[in-house]
């Protein structure tokens, strides 16, 4: 067991290194200095407390979106709709955060809960259609992404504001920002959400691995017939899975609404949090802890990438290429495993 985990970490590390190496080669070939490039990347991600804070803030919703995708995956469902669920979660969080005046201890959890519920509802629709009418969740969730985007924009302009492009800020009592974190990280927009996200990963692990519900969800994911034979309500589990997945996504939206941005605005396109969540979930092996690490890697690269054009003149698209290559290497880790096993054999 321990050996297995150790080798997984090793494989992941080698993949990342190979990806970075490939990136370095591309930089060299295109006439950039890879050392400067990566130095700038590191600087941009963890250069000082401010950037560290920003990076952590960026990782936060990625973790939750990854959990959302991963959770559905574990139940045999492909939720491409996390993007839309993030949007409705964000919207709901803003509504809850602006429309009420409550003490922090109630307001903040309430706003997050509302976001989770909104995301859950957005997951419920494809879940229901899948369970009852066998409609493929991939199409429904793709369609619901667009629907969420347009409805959110509409709601912002008509219900939350009077024709404005952005909503008021959420009440202090519903904000995830805290003065000490802001000060500690030199005014970064880091907020308490990272704790929620990591806790979310724990929740996912616990739910799936330690509870009877999780047992049922996993069972349904693997074999619906046997699950039915064992007396599980397969339909309900499918819906439940999408609902929980959507709730994670909704909370990811709350992170943006109550933490990073503190408000919402008319969006001209997707946040991409949901789509990045797919990569994060799969990189993390659809498991809580793995997703936390994958989101960490992903967020770090994305954050650092912004600094590359500025300090090393390297186009930030290069980082997209590096990320893609790392994903390939992790995904194709079969090859790395194979090579490793060769080494181990020879070592014996």
């Amino acid at each position: 067991m321990a050996n297995k985990k150790y080798s997984f970490v090793l494989v992941a590390l080698i993949s990342v290194l190979l990806g970075l190496l490939a990136g370095a080669i591309i930089m060299l070939v295109s006439g950039y200095n890879p050392i400067n490039g990566y130095a700038a990347l590191w600087e941009g991600a963890f250069g000082d407390l401010y950037f560290t804070g920003e990076t952590l803030r960026r990782i936060t919703p990625l973790i939750l979106a990854g959990l959302a995708v991963g959770f559905a995956f574990r139940t045999g469902l492909f939720n491409i709709g996390v993007e839309g669920q993030v949007i409705v979660g964000w919207l709901a969080a803003i509504w809850a955060g602006t429309a009420f005046e409550l003490p922090t201890l109630i307001h903040l959890p309430f706003a997050i809960l509302v976001a989770a519920l909104a995301g859950a509802f957005w997951g419920f629709i494809p879940g229901l259609l899948k369970a009852k009418l066998h409609v493929h969740e991939v199409i429904v969730t793709i369609m619901l992404n667009y629907t969420a985007l347009y409805i959110a924009n509409h709601v912002i302009r008509t219900l939350l504001t009077d024709g404005k492009d952005s909503t008021p800020y959420v009440a202090e009592s519903a904000s995830l920002r805290t003065e000490w974190l802001t000060n500690l990280t030199q005014f970064s927009s880091m907020h308490l959400g990272i704790i929620i996200a990591v806790f979310g990963a724990f929740v996912m692990w616990f739910l799936l691995e330690r509870t009877t519900q999780g047992y049922e969800l996993r069972s349904v994911g693997f074999n619906q017939h046997a699950s039915k034979y064992a007396g599980m309500k397969v339909d309900r589990k499918i819906i439940l899975s999408m609902v929980i997945s959507g709730a994670f996504a909704g909370v990811a939206g709350a992170m943006e609404g109550l933490g990073t941005f503190q408000h919402m605005y008319v969006m001209s396109g997707f946040t991409n949090i949901g789509f990045d969540g797919i990569a994060v979930a799969l990189l993390g092996g659809n498991a809580g802890l793995g997703i936390v690490f994958a989101a960490g890697l992903f967020g770090t690269l994305k954050a650092g990438a912004l600094n590359m054009p500025l300090e090393a003149g390297v186009p930030s698209e290069l980082v997209d290429i590096v990320i893609a290559l790392i994903i390939f290497f992790v995904a194709g880790s079969y090859m790395i495993r194979w090579i490793l096993s060769r080494f181990q054999k020879e070592g014996k």
């Binding site: 259609l129 409609v135 799969l282 893609a324 994903i327």
Partner: protein, 320 residues
């Protein structure tokens, strides 16, 4: 506006909208019928659009305005086919999770495309091509009453190429030995293997062909609709193509129909926006209409779609 005028607004617009989706969805059908999930369709389209535009801009003087767009989409398709080998190697040879590999394809295509555009043009998007496709009337067919003007006058040859491609893919999948083998590999690879079919080879071919078609889709989009390449050129069409493929139950004709359905829904919503009666309806309803319509259609009468049985499972000889 008379009824016929409305049709005239809806149908041709639906068709040109659908054409790129048709090509790409057909690519998806081939890949997934062979058992390889392809959510990298978006990336394949990006690659196609990028190559199509860049080639067009670079070689317009060589090939002239008539030929250039054709050569461009062909080259784009070839390059995307090569690009798809990434997905093939990862998901077939290296037995990577096929969804992960597809996601990587999406990132990679956009990364490469934008990176090179910056390198070559010094800016984030290309110029507009000067040799795009133009609408043309198809001889004879455009003279047929009613359907002539709707379908065959002022239409893109590429749209009809898309329809032709659907027929060809259908023929290939369902009438030829190659198609039978390709489908067998997606249903029960071990059975295919015991019948002497090289499972991985078939899958490679299928994924590469899906790259070809996806690239064609992207290039046709770029050369009939956007005319340039930037980060925003392909924004979700690949996922719509994926949806069309599933909507069409992994069948070439189904994919064709689904893509046309999307085009129709979209152009209906556009036309509805121009109908005085509907003016009072908030924009948002028209914006979401195509998507909601799709969901309703699926729930209402399309029903269950069965994916190829071995979809998503790498083939390992003798695994149980």
């Amino acid at each position: 506006m008379g009824f016929f005028d409305i049709l005239q607004s809806i149908i041709p617009a639906a068709i040109f909208f659908a054409a790129p989706l048709i090509f790409t969805a057909l690519g998806g059908v081939l890949s997934e019928r062979s058992g390889v999930i392809n959510i990298g369709l978006e990336g394949l389209m990006v690659m196609g659009a990028f190559v199509g535009v860049v080639f067009n801009l670079t070689f317009v003087d060589v090939f002239g305005p008539e030929l250039t767009p054709w050569v461009s989409i062909f080259v784009a398709a070839i390059v995307s086919a090569l690009f798809a080998t990434f997905h093939a190697v990862a998901s077939i040879t290296l037995r990577a999770d096929q969804v992960v590999s597809g996601v990587a394809i999406n990132f990679l295509a956009l990364g490469i495309g934008l990176f090179l555009v910056k390198q070559w043009y010094g800016k984030g998007q290309t110029d507009m091509v000067s040799a795009p496709f133009y609408r043309e009337s198809i001889w004879l067919l455009s003279d047929i009453p009613v359907i002539g003007p709707l379908l065959f006058s002022k239409t893109y040859w590429t749209s009809w190429l898309a329809v032709l491609a659907a027929v060809l893919v259908w023929y290939m999948l369902y009438k030829t030995p190659f198609g039978l083998r390709l489908r067998s590999v997606g249903e029960h690879p071990m059975a295919a293997d015991t019948n002497g079919i090289n499972v991985n080879k078939m899958r490679y071919i299928a994924v590469i062909m899906s790259g070809f078609l996806g690239g064609l889709g992207g290039a046709v989009f770029a050369l009939t609709i956007s005319l340039d390449f930037s980060h925003a050129t392909i924004s979700g069409q690949g996922f719509m193509a994926l949806a069309a493929m599933i909507f069409g139950k992994w069948h070439p004709m189904g994919a064709l129909g689904a893509a046309l359905f999307f085009g129709l829904a979209q152009s209906l919503s556009v036309v509805s926006g121009g109908i005085p009666l509907l003016k009072e309806i908030p924009q948002v309803y028209l914006l979401i209409a195509p998507y909601v319509l799709t969901i309703l259609a699926l729930a209402g009468f399309i029903g269950r779609a069965e994916s190829p049985k071995a979809l998503g499972k790498p083939y390992e000889k003798g695994s149980r």
